[in-house]
Amino acid sequence: MLIGHQPKDFLLAVSGLTVSFDGFKAVNDLSFYVEENEIRVIIGPNGAGKTTVLDLICGKTRATSGSIQFRGKELTKLKENEIVKAGVGRKFQTPSVFEDLTVFENLEISFPRGRTVFGSLTFQRDTTVTGRVEEVAEMIFLKDRLQTSAAELSHGQKQWLEIGMLLIQNPDLLMLDEPVAGMSVSERAKTAELLNRIIKDRSVLVIEHDMKFVEDIAHKVTVLHQGQILSEGTMERVKNDPKVIEVYLGH
């Protein structure tokens, strides 16, 4: 195991993380480390605490104890928007985009400038912004839909739009919760391609059930079970771990 390493070598160092909801420990003394430019996939049965781990890192849920160090910053003490500013981006399981706004406006809101009240009052839509929005829109296959209202997009396109909104934030750590759930086969392939392109220069933490997709992208896999790590390592190693086969892959 990696315990004992200097946490400073890692982009993200989670140690002894515990959260309890009315005595039920959804995440129990969890420790793991993510390196720079690593793609880490978290898998595990339902209720294993996968989404809770992401919630804890991005500040949506407050930890009962333990620490989350990101580039030496303690995230457990920061507010959600401060965690975003520190460089952590989060995509939710169900696509959460702003349906009453256009694709362009969705991406523009995520552009990291003018995030205060008065900053947003004086925000100007200059060529830097439009250029970046168009660049990202091209990446997420929505270049010709910029003026479409987000409500009119398909499920898969909404997922891409939300990924695009994260890209425009340019986070150092990107967290994706089931990015291909509910997607068609062709959309899934396109998403894998998209993810492979956007992971350059950043670390990615992904929750996913689709094992083929996991195999395609993962550098390293962490298997969670009942809020604790059951197994960790390369996909090859995890797949052949008898404990993992028993609680998760065997079904």
Partner: protein, 378 residues
């Protein structure tokens, strides 16, 4: 690329021009001063309604306590006017001359400290804007930082409206109690009770109203306006895009409060008194109804909605005084059930397409036929 390259798009421009014609030309020419003064009174609520468009329509924050801010602005103005009306010469029959009459009736022998700054008109103007801004900031910070929202926020604002009413009524010696602050006479020695003054004040108010329309439109078109919409839909997504959702909600709530307070100050000037019956729960809810009827996403709709409901209220309550409140309730239910986007929605769905066709076939000639009946516009 840029969707809102013009400050007002064509349908908004139609709304703006028809509103200018209606308020500046048609109503002053067709109504006598008594009726025009009633319109001035209605329009004071339009300020509140415009604020609610930003706060409720765009930001999704339903405040059932806008009467509080309307009252703060109105009372600040009334305190200045009352002090001017209570000169030693005017009040020499009192046992303590020089203080407002209701204080004398309540055995006060000197002016309370918080009344003293209201001798100054610049201070009063500052207070009209800053007092509600400060008060709404406190309420907003206390609620939104703790993530209190939705129905709970609405109930708390309603409670605050009730508390403030009770306070005003209870502290008769300081506030004039249930009667409010009455018998206001002059503004810097200019008699505000004459017909001429009422005309002037009407046009001053209309000018301020268009100022409010422009400011609201400006806010709506900035990125902040889009963030308000985004927040209403997906609060978490906004939060995890790096924004402090609470700060944006506080801003929207404060902006609505300041709009309401300016309306309140205008009310005092045009109507000539201020009382707790414009502060409490019932007026606060009525103000929400005006916005809902006009269309809570439309700045112009809010003005038309306010005018329409108030005209209906005046004419109905003159004829059927008992039935008015039932009528108002039925109207609100009907709007919510059948026309959730209010008059502006009806306009956008049914009338706007016809105008577009008219423009397309006849070029840029005119839209004159729409104006006279107070046509709602988006």
């Amino acid at each position: 690329m840029i969707t809102n390259s013009r400050f007002f798009n064509r349908s908004e421009l139609v709304g703006l021009i028809s509103l200018v014609l209606l308020l500046v030309v048609i109503l002053p020419l067709t109504l006598d001063i008594f009726r025009l003064n009633l319109v001035a009174k209605y329009l004071t609520y339009a300020f509140v309604a415009i604020g609610l468009v930003l706060c409720w329509g765009y930001g999704g924050i339903l405040s059932l306590g806008q009467g509080v801010f309307f009252g703060l602005g109105g009372y600040a103005m009334a305190m200045f006017l009352k002090l001017e009306a209570s000169s030693a010469a005017n009040t020499k029959i009192q046992s303590t001359p020089g203080i407002p009459d209701f204080m004398d009736w309540n055995q006060l022998t000197q002016l309370p400290f918080f009344w003293k700054p209201f001798h100054s008109l610049p201070f009063t103007f500052l207070a009209i804007v800053l007092a509600p801004a400060f008060f709404s900031f406190i309420i907003g910070a206390a609620m939104f930082k703790r993530r209190v929202g939705g129905v709970y926020f609405a109930i708390i604002t309603q409670a605050i409206a009730a508390i403030l009413t009770i306070l005003i009524v209870g502290q008769q010696g300081y506030t004039g109690g249930i009667n409010g602050i009455t018998d206001l006479r002059t503004l810097l020695d200019w008699d505000i009770r004459t017909d001429h003054a009422k005309y002037v004040l009407y046009f001053v108010e209309v000018a301020f109203l268009f100022g409010a329309v422009v400011v609201a439109q400006f806010i709506r078109l900035t990125k902040l306006g889009r963030i308000l919409v985004a927040m209403r839909e997906q609060e978490d997504r906004v939060r995890f895009s790096g924004y402090s959702v609470a700060n944006f909600k506080i801003f929207a709530f404060c902006a609505a409060a300041v709009f309401a307070a300016i309306g309140g100050a205008m009310f005092t000037l045009n109507v000539g008194f201020m009382s707790p019956s414009f502060v409490g729960i019932v007026p606060s809810i009525e103000m929400v109804i005006y916005t809902a009827v006009g269309g809570r996403l439309s700045i112009f709709g809010a003005v038309y909605g306010t005018l329409l409901v108030n005209f209906a209220k005046t004419s109905l309550s003159e004829t059927f005084p008992q039935l008015w409140l039932f009528g108002l309730g039925a109207l609100f239910i009907a709007v919510v059930l059948a026309f959730p986007s209010g008059l502006a929605g009806i306009w956008a769905d049914n009338i706007q397409p016809r105008i577009d066709r008219l423009f397309a076939s006849r070029g840029e000639k005119s839209g004159n036929g729409l104006i006279a009946d107070g046509a709602p516009a988006e």
